[in-house]
Amino acid sequence: MSGEILSEKNKLALEDICERCGLPETTVMAYVEEGVIEVDGDDVARWRFSELSMVRIQKACRLERDLGLNPAGAALALDLMAQINELKTEIKRLQQDEL
């Protein structure tokens, strides 16, 4: 069985992302509002999401459910996690240079 690799380049409209994540539009719009996900396009009808948004949305859902966060808190947690990952990669690279 083969799947597809999610890519930044593949774009989805609001209704696609709601269908794929099984979420109502209001929830996805709240995620946009709080910065959990970013969106291209000025008007809701023209909003385009990257496929990777799905991963962030799912993580945000899990964090909200398991940790009692609200969307703003989940957005903060996701941003901090991304920063930590970047720093870890950087540390790994620096340690390698030192050896």
């Binding site: 069985m1 083969s2 799947g3 597809e4 690799i5 999610l6 709601c18 269908e19 794929r20 994540c21 099984g22 979420l23 109502p24 929830t27 990777l52 799905m54 991963v55 799912q58 993580k59 859902c61 899990r62 964090l63 459910r65 398991d66 940790l67 009692g68 947690a77 996690m81 990669t89 790994k92 690279r93 390698q96 240079d97 050896l99």
Partner: protein, 325 residues
């Protein structure tokens, strides 16, 4: 089946208030949540904490659990006493159900407590099945060449009686050539089954690459430390170097210093834009453990006018005084 001490798992006293239990659970969940903590074992701790919370946060279940008594030790073999739960009515509340519970839990409270995953607002609006998420640890070789991997999944399923059962199934998944660490593979329709006319959810596989003894991976690039001799680095040389595609003859430019990086274009992970292989030179000093080696070092010390600390001492304002002899 092993007895579990839910109080010990959450790190609270048997007399803890409901508020204390909630705080302890939140703290544990923040620490071990698999989205936040990628370390091995974190997910198990998180699940264990979720199970402890499921029991201790519910006054009915907690009371029933408490009356099992204090004579059990964690890990001890356990069988529930007959009629142990007589007089307790579990409300079967819609738990958040994100956890797979242990046999110990199921022997006490049954599986009907594990309601449909996700819960809350998700399923009310759409009948599409829940998406599932799993991590797959692959070898670098799998990313280089592509591979087929069998992935074992535990899926909750509704039985005819309306109870939830855990079904295990194996999926053979193609790992595409050139996949990068942290990428997600979506397997359409391989998540939880939908309700009514709704389609099944999707399965998302997050790729992690196991550390490799020779190469380290960053995105699509590979890194390799290559030992060279001082004379190869100083005079330049052609040396053999390993690459994922096979041994290559690598030109070491003359005058190379420790840590110099050489790029082998396109020799990283394959893809539309293949990654590169970076070779970092590590100068290895021959030990002065033989008469010949000692003599050569002595000769160098005598004949070479080389002071590696010159610049450093000048920068420290102590240039002339500390000149090496």
């Amino acid at each position: 089946m092993e007895y579990k001490d839910y109080y010990e798992i959450l790190g609270v006293e048997k007399t803890a208030t409901q508020d204390e239990i909630k705080r302890a659970y939140r703290k544990l969940a923040r620490k071990y949540h698999p989205d936040l903590n990628k370390e091995e074992g974190a997910e198990d701790k998180f699940k264990e904490g979720g199970e402890a919370n499921e029991v201790l946060s519910d006054p009915e279940k907690r009371a029933a659990y408490d009356q099992l008594g204090t004579s059990y030790r964690p890990g001890q073999d356990f069988q529930p006493p007959p009629d142990w739960d007589a007089g307790y009515e579990f409300s079967g509340r819609d738990g958040d159900g994100a956890h797979e519970f242990s046999d110990f839990f199921e022997s006490l409270f049954g599986r009907e407590f594990q309601q449909q995953r996700g819960g809350s607002s998700r399923t009310q609006f759409h009948a599409k099945g829940q998406d599932h998420h799993a991590k797959v640890l692959i070898d670098l070789e799998d990313a280089l060449h592509g591979a087929k991997r069998t992935i074992g999944l535990k899926l909750p399923e509704l039985t005819e009686g309306g109870h939830l059962a855990i079904r295990e199934r194996n999926l053979e998944v193609t790992i595409p050539k050139g996949v990068r660490e942290g990428q997600h593979i979506r397997l359409k329709g391989q998540g939880a089954p939908g309700m009514g006319s709704g389609g099944a959810g999707d399965l998302f596989l997050e790729i992690a690459i196991r550390p490799h003894p020779v190469y380290s991976v960053q995105g699509s690039d590979l890194y390799l430390d290559l030992p060279v001799t001082p004379w190869e680095a100083a005079r330049g040389a052609k040396v053999k170097a390993p690459t994922p595609g096979g041994v290559v003859d690598l030109n070491i430019p003359n005058g190379s210093q420790q840590g110099r990086k050489l790029r082998l274009k396109g020799r990283g992970l394959p893809g539309k834009t293949p990654g590169d292989l970076y070779v970092t030179l590590k100068i290895a000093l021959p030990p002065a453990d033989s008469a010949v080696a000692k003599k050569l070092y002595e000769q160098m010390a005598k004949d070479l006018d080389f002071n590696p600390r010159e610049k450093l001492m000048r920068a420290a304002g102590q240039g002339e005084k500390a000149r090496a002899k």
